[in-house]
Symmetry: C2
Subunit: 405 residues, 2 copies
C-alpha cells in the first residue's frame, strides 16, 4: 500500500486504467448508447454512478485532482490559467512548480510500478509527468516529437500507432489518445495508466449530434480493447458541458471587468478556462475570479451579484472553504455564472469569431455532475458510495485501486 | 437539540420550511428563471447545490427519507407500492405501519414545537402525520374534507384559502399546497413546516414548456411570501424527470414479467412507482423489483441483464447494500432501467392510453440528482458539503436546522 495526500491506495495487482473523458456528461453516452456496446457492457456488468467534479469545473483542476486524489486546496491547481501575484503576470497554470502535492502516479512510479500517461493536450503533460520515476508520459498533440529522455518512449507515430497524430481540433486526437493507451498495454504490462482526452467535440456538438456519436463510437472500440486486455478500467470526466448561447446564437456573456469599470472600479478578472486552445470556447466559461482593491470588495460584490446570469458571487474565503480552493491563488471575489451564462472579461479581450457558430462551455456548478463508470463490479462499501452519489471524480484511483470487488 | 434516527438537530428558532418540489430537476428552474425572481434571489443571496436522492427515485421513499433524515433501510419506505409478503398482497406503501423510524416532524412536535405539513397527495398524509402531537397536517387533495380531529385544522377551503382546491391533475394543486403553507405561516408562527407537491406538471411537460413555466412562476410567488414572512426556506426535490419515449412517441417500455415468462420463469414484478395517480405515468418508471423462486434467480438475472435499456440488474443483497434499502421489502432482483427506458410488468397490466401523448418518468439513477436551494447563506461546513456535491436530499432538515449561517 502507499499513502498519497493522506489517502491510502493498494498497489495495482494487474493493469489499472483511469480515463478522463474531457467534457463528457452522461447525456453524450445516453445519446450514443447504441454505438457504445463496450461502455454499455461496463455499465451493465460493472458499475456506474454520478459523481461531483471539482469546481471550477475546468480541465486542469480536475485532472490534477484525479491524479493527486485531492482537491485544489491540497494540490494547488485551481485553473488552467492564473494570476501569479509574485510574478505579477497572468500565466498558464501548467507548470509543475504550481503543484503542491505529489500525484498517485508519481508515488506508484517511485515504488517501482510501471506507469503510462497519455494526454491529448500537451498543456497537461508536464504536470502529469511530475515526479514520475521512469514510465511513459506523452501528449497526442506532440506525438511526433516524443523522446525517450522526455517521454520514456520513442517513435509513437511509427512503431506504436502506425500513423501521425490528428490535429488538435480533429475529434480523432482523443481517439488517438485512448488507442495509444490500448496499444501500450498490448505491448507491455503497465501497472497503471492515466488517459485524458480533450473536449473539442463536446464544446462543438451537443449530445446526440452525429459527430459526437461517431466520436464516441470510435472511443468505445478502444475501451473494449482495454477491457479485453484484462485491465480494470474506470471512466469519468473533468466536467460536463452546457449550451451558453442566446436565442440569436451569440454567446450569452457578461463582461465582468467592463461592468466593474463602468462603476469606476478597476479590477483584473481572471478566467481560468483560458488555455492555448481557444477555438473550443473563446476563453468563456462559467467561473471567474476577480482581483481588486480590498476597499472595493463589498461594492463590487453587490454590483456583480446583480448581474443577470451571475448565479453566485463569493468572497475569497467563502469560495476557498466551500470549493476547497487555495485562497492565495484566487482573487478577492469568485463569480459562478448560471447554466446558460458565461463570464467574460472585456469585449475586446475575447475573440468571439471563434464561437460564432454557438458556444457550449463549462466551469460552474451546472457542469459539475459527471458519470463514473467501471468495467468491474465494486466491493460493497464502494458500490454503496457510488450508488448514493456522495463521491467525487477525484476518487477515481481510490475506486480503481481499493474499490474493485 | 433533539436526536432522531441517530442524527442530531437544533430546535427551530424561527419558522423553518422544508419544501419538496416533486419531480423538479434543475432544468425546470433554469428554463423558468426569468419567471422565478424569488428562487433566483434565493440562489444568489442564499445557497444552492446538487444533491443525490434516494434510489428508487420515487415520491414516497424520498419524502419519507426527508422527514426522517434517513434512507429506506432505516425508515422502511422503499416504494409507493410494495408486495407485502406477510399479507401476500400488493399494497400501497402509504400506511404508517410500514414506517420503521420516527420522523423529525413527529419528534419536534413531541417536544412542543408547532408543526404544519401540507402535502398535495393524500397518499402521503398519514405517514407524514404519524407521531405528530398536534399541529396541522392535511392534503390539498382533500382540503375540502379536513377536520380538526384528523388534520388539526378546519375549513381550509373557506377561512384559510378562500377557494376550493383544484383537481389532482390541475397544476394549481401544487401551487395551492405552497400557498397554504404561506397562509398558515401568516396566520400563526409555526416552528417548522413541510410542504410537498405533486409532479403531474413535470410528468407531462418538459422544462421550458409554457405550462411548466407558468406553474413555476405561480410557485415562486409563494416562495417569496414564505421568505417575506421570515422563514428559513429550503427547496429540494424527491427526484428528477426524463423523457422515456420512443421515436414514434410511444413509451419506451420493456415488460419484465413477460420477458421472464417467455423464458418459462414465473415471477412477480413490483413497480414501486405505482400509485393511485396513474395518469402521471401509467405505473411505468425506471426501477422495478422481481420476486421469484430462489433457484431461478441466476438465470433470471442473466436474462434481464440482456434486455436493452435495463442498465443494471442487482441481487437483493447488492441492491439493499448499495442503495440503503430494506432487504426484506424488495424482491430477489432489482432492475434499474436507463435514462430513456421504463420497466413494465406485462402489456396487459398497464393502461398505455394514459401516456399516449408521451411519457416522462423517473425511478432510476438518472433522475437521482436534484437541486437543493436555501434562501439563506450556510455556515461554512454546510456550504462546503453543498458545494462539493456530497449531500443527499434527505439532509434537508439537517441543513435547515443545523446549517444556516
Amino acid at each position: 500500500m502507499i499513502t498519497v495526500n493522506d489517502r491510502t491506495y493498494n498497489l495495482p495487482q494487474g493493469p489499472v486504467v483511469g480515463i478522463c473523458m474531457d467534457g463528457t456528461s452522461f447525456d453524450y453516452y445516453e445519446a450514443a448508447k447504441d454505438l457504445m456496446p463496450n461502455l454499455q457492457r461496463f455499465i451493465r456488468e460493472g458499475s456506474m454512478g454520478m459523481v461531483h467534479s471539482v469546481v471550477p469545473s475546468f480541465t486542469n483542476p480536475n485532472n490534477m485532482a484525479m491524479v493527486t486524489g485531492a482537491p485544489p486546496s491540497v494540490n494547488g491547481i485551481c485553473g488552467n490559467y492564473y494570476y501569479d501575484k509574485a510574478l505579477d503576470a497572468e500565466v498558464m497554470m501548467n507548470d509543475p512548480r504550481y503543484l503542491r502535492a505529489p500525484s498517485i502516479l508519481a508515488s506508484l512510479s517511485q515504488q517501482g510500478k510501471r506507469i503510462a500517461v497519455v494526454t491529448v493536450k500537451d498543456k497537461l503533460r508536464a504536470m502529469l509527468a511530475h515526479g514520475l520515476a521512469g514510465g511513459v508520459c506523452f501528449s497526442a498533440e506532440f506525438a511526433d516529437r516524443v523522446t525517450t529522455e522526455l517521454n520514456g518512449i520513442e517513435n509513437v507515430e511509427g512503431t506504436l500507432m502506425g500513423r501521425p497524430q490528428p490535429g488538435i481540433y480533429d475529434p480523432g486526437i482523443s481517439v488517438y489518445c485512448i488507442e495509444a493507451g490500448a496499444r501500450l498495454l498490448a505491448r507491455e504490462p503497465f501497472d497503471l495508466m492515466y488517459l485524458t482526452t480533450t473536449d473539442f467535440v463536446q464544446h462543438k456538438y451537443a449530445p446526440g449530434h452525429p459527430e459526437a456519436n461517431a466520436f464516441l463510437a470510435a472511443i468505445d472500440q478502444w475501451l473494449g480493447e482495454l477491457d479485453r486486455l484484462g485491465a480494470i478500467v474506470g471512466v469519468t470526466a473533468d466536467h460536463g458541458m452546457n449550451d451558453k448561447t442566446q436565442a440569436d446564437g451569440s454567446p450569452n456573456v457578461r463582461y465582468a471587468e467592463s461592468i466593474l469599470a463602468d462603476h469606476g472600479i478597476p479590477s483584473r478578472v481572471i478566467l481560468p478556462i483560458t488555455d492555448p486552445y481557444v477555438v473550443h470556447h473563446g476563453a468563456l466559461g462559467s467561473y471567474g475570479t476577480v482581483y481588486l482593491a480590498e476597499d472595493e470588495v463589498t461594492r463590487a460584490r453587490e454590483i456583480l451579484s446583480e448581474v443577470p446570469g451571475f448565479e453566485k458571487v463569493l468572497s475569497r474565503d467563502e469560495a476557498a472553504a466551500a470549493f476547497h480552493l487555495p485562497p492565495d491563488r484566487i482573487g478577492e471575489l469568485v463569480i459562478l455564472s448560471d447554466r446558460s451564462t458565461v463570464i467574460g472579461r472585456t469585449a475586446a479581450w475575447h475573440d468571439l469569431s471563434v464561437v460564432a457558430e454557438g458556444l457550449r462551455s463549462h466551469g460552474g456548478l451546472h457542469e459539475a455532475v459527471v458519470p463514473m463508470i467501471f468495467n468491474r463490479p465494486l466491493a460493497p462499501a464502494y458500490a454503496e458510495r457510488l450508488a448514493t452519489g456522495t463521491s467525487r471524480n477525484y476518487d477515481l484511483f481510490d475506486y480503481l485501486l481499493n474499490g474493485i470487488a
